[in-house]
């Protein structure tokens, strides 16, 4: 006698076809992913529009579109075109870059604590930038270039220090990263104490991250690297999902793990370093974006794009709150930091309970 299993498709329909049962589950999960990603895109778009419209003077959509189309609108052309547009673009792309970069590290190292801050990229970049501004008094371009290079070198240093004699350990990487981060931060604080007053406002950005005073000519490097690296990261999305199963499983499934890992790490490090060079480190964005995206879309799919979108949303929303919620204006990094702190505590308690720490 053949036993036929029945599977519940919905409350009212059942099937004996296992393929239909598996397919339906996948379609539902896929639909959720598309829906969430769509909503996040719309939200991002709405926040971008708000960033352009809101300010000391509120301009209607019509004026904003006219300015973007290159028309001369009295007052709006300067406020929207010169001040608000670069601010919005910097927030969007830097948020996206931090979100994707954090998601890659968290997924590949299988640890929610792993993110560009911990891995030292942002702290190295920041310390070098502050050094350039205060001690060398270099131009903005030089500062950006130096801070990208410093970010890459710092992450390399942390990687070398955490390698140990035989094996690479993620725990060691995170601890070394936290140590280096503390060193860099104390160096920043010292430089700011000895720094001259006029260079301090520029240097403060590197402590918390801010979109204040971003100029259009600073943005091409960030936008271009996003446009090149994000597609590469998306193409490697499935390999990243396999790496999530562990080195051995990934290799036996035919993933060239070493090559894939190097490509992903280099892409993520460059994204984070370039974003830091322009906006400074946004506390918590890289750390929050991935877990929020995974929670929204459901695990088991490639979530680089949703993570990037969540990163963008966090930065843009944080900046709007920082600008308009109180009479005093706060840099966006402070707002995202406030959101991130409770999550970090929650995570530490959870990891501690699970015995992972």
């Amino acid at each position: 006698m053949i036993m036929m299993n029945t599977f519940t498709l919905t409350k009212t329909t059942k099937t004996t076809d296992p393929i239909a049962f598996i397919r339906l589950g996948r379609i539902l999960r896929r639909r959720r992913w598309v829906l969430v990603t769509g909503i996040l895109s719309l939200l991002t778009l709405a926040l971008c529009a708000a960033m352009l419209m809101l300010g000391n003077t509120i301009y209607p959509v019509r004026d904003v579109i006219a300015v973007l189309a290159g028309e001369e609108v009295k007052g709006a052309s300067f406020a929207v075109g010169t001040i608000r547009l670069p601010r919005m673009l910097a927030g969007l792309f830097a948020g996206f870059a931090f979100g994707v970069s954090g998601y890659i590290f968290q997924t590949m190292l299988r640890n929610p604590l792993a993110n560009p801050n911990v891995i030292g990229i942002t702290s190295g970049s920041s310390a070098a930038a502050v050094f350039c501004i205060i001690v060398l008094q270099s131009s903005k371009t030089v500062t950006s270039v130096v801070s990208v290079i410093a970010g890459l070198l710092t992450s390399l240093l942390i990687y070398i220090l955490s390698r140990g004699h035989a094996s690479f350990s993620i725990g060691r990487l995170i601890l070394v990263g936290i140590g280096i981060q503390a060193m860099c931060n104390s160096m920043i604080t010292y430089l700011m104490l000895i720094g001259e007053e006029h260079s301090l406002p520029a240097a403060v950005r590197w402590l918390t991250g801010s979109l204040n005073g971003v100029r259009m000519d600073e943005l091409p490097s960030l936008i271009i690297s996003c446009l090149i690296l994000v597609p590469i990261i998306c193409l490697l999305g499935r390999q990243l999902m396999m790496l999530e199963l562990g080195e051995q499983a990934a290799r036996s499934l035919g993933v060239r793990t070493d090559a894939v890992r190097v490509m992903l790490i280099v892409s993520a490090v460059i994204l984070a370093a370039i974003a830091t060079a322009i906006t400074g480190p946004f506390a918590s964005v890289a750390f929050l974006a991935g877990p929020i995206a995974v929670r929204l879309t459901g695990a088991g799919s490639a979530n680089s794009i949703p993570a990037g979108l969540v990163g963008g949303v966090l930065v843009l929303a944080g900046d709007l709150v920082g600008q308009f919620a109180w009479t005093t204006k706060f840099p966006v990094g402070i707002i995202t930091g406030i959101i991130g702190a409770p999550y970090l505590l929650f995570l530490l308690i959870k990891l501690n309970r699970r015995g992972d720490f």
Binding site: I19, F21, L235, A299
Partner: protein, 281 residues
């Protein structure tokens, strides 16, 4: 039904970390379409041998050959369609569902974008049916018991549809009931599809029962190989595990069964298959 045959050989394998040698010039050929089990004491190199055969560890010298071709020269996706491995402790991504995890076994068969073809669905459904987990398809793995999880992992390896499957201690941490269940399912797989199975098992009696062929490893050297009935002797067990024992016949499977002799039970009677008592010496 004829099964696809492969010649899978290792030639003069040497492997190790730094200057510690773990595999010491091992040469062997895996019998095609059979179940082979690698046995040996802890830290004898049996797991390293399995991982070197399954291309996870690169040997210092020597080579592993699939149908006469060195495996490191075969493109990795192409090799993954013939040779699969279930690692000892694979990692479950948080929140993933059973069907999605099993589906990851289809990676070497899919194009760059990973859309599921009819074949992918069929392979996943079949693998889940063999492991009796179809009704769990859309449940998150976090909710499953240890035995169920292990079945999901094996289903993932099955969805890969390889002719040769390596398993690194597939029954560790499982209750005896689930150990038998898993080994029975692997035997079904071998009998039905002719899948060549090579695994490391901890339990020597289960190894003797389920293996068609045994490889015994001691200190990185292959010391014996052959059918369990020929290989398992009290001398070999003494040699490989350093354990005094008596070999009796397993009353259920007729395979050899090891009865250890401890300090407290050295002169005790040993029940035989027919229930009488036999005295050692």
């Amino acid at each position: 039904m004829s099964f696809r045959k492969h010649v899978f050989q290792a030639r003069d394998l040497v492997a190790g970390y730094d200057d510690r040698i773990i595999l010491d010039h091992i040469s062997l050929e895996i019998p095609s379409n059979q179940i082979s089990v690698i046995i040996g004491a802890n830290a004898c190199g049996k797991s390293t041998l399995l991982k070197t055969l399954a291309r996870i560890i690169k040997p210092k010298s020597g080579e592993v050959l699939l149908d006469g071709q060195p495996i490191h020269k075969i493109p990795s996706k192409q090799l993954a369609r013939v040779v699969g491995l279930l690692p000892q402790s694979p990692i479950v991504p948080e929140g993933i569902t059973v069907a999605d995890l099993v589906g990851r076994g289809r990676y070497p068969h899919q194009s760059m974008f990973g859309t599921w073809s009819r074949k992918d669905y069929e392979a996943v459904a079949e693998a889940m049916e063999i492991m009796h987990i179809t009704d769990l398809a859309n449940r998150p793995i976090d909710e499953l018991s240890g035995g169920q999880r292990q079945r999901v992992w094996i289903a993932m390896a099955l969805a890969q549809q390889t002719d040769i499957l390596f398993l690194d201690e597939p029954t560790t941490y499982l209750d005896i009931t689930y150990q038998i269940e898993i080994l029975d399912m692997l035997t079904d797989l071998n009998r039905r599809y002719g899948t060549t199975i090579v695994m490391v098992l901890h339990d020597i009696n289960l190894s003797a029962r389920y293996a068609d062929y045994l490889f015994a490893v001691r200190q990185g050297k292959l010391v014996a190989e052959g059918k369990p009935s020929e290989v398992i002797t009290s001398e070999l067990i003494k040699d490989v595990f350093g354990l005094d024992c008596t070999i009796i016949q397993d009353p259920i499977s007729n395979s050899p069964s090891v009865v250890p002799i401890g300090r407290h039970h050295a002169s005790g009677g040993i029940p035989t298959a027919i229930g009488g008592k036999v005295h050692v010496r």
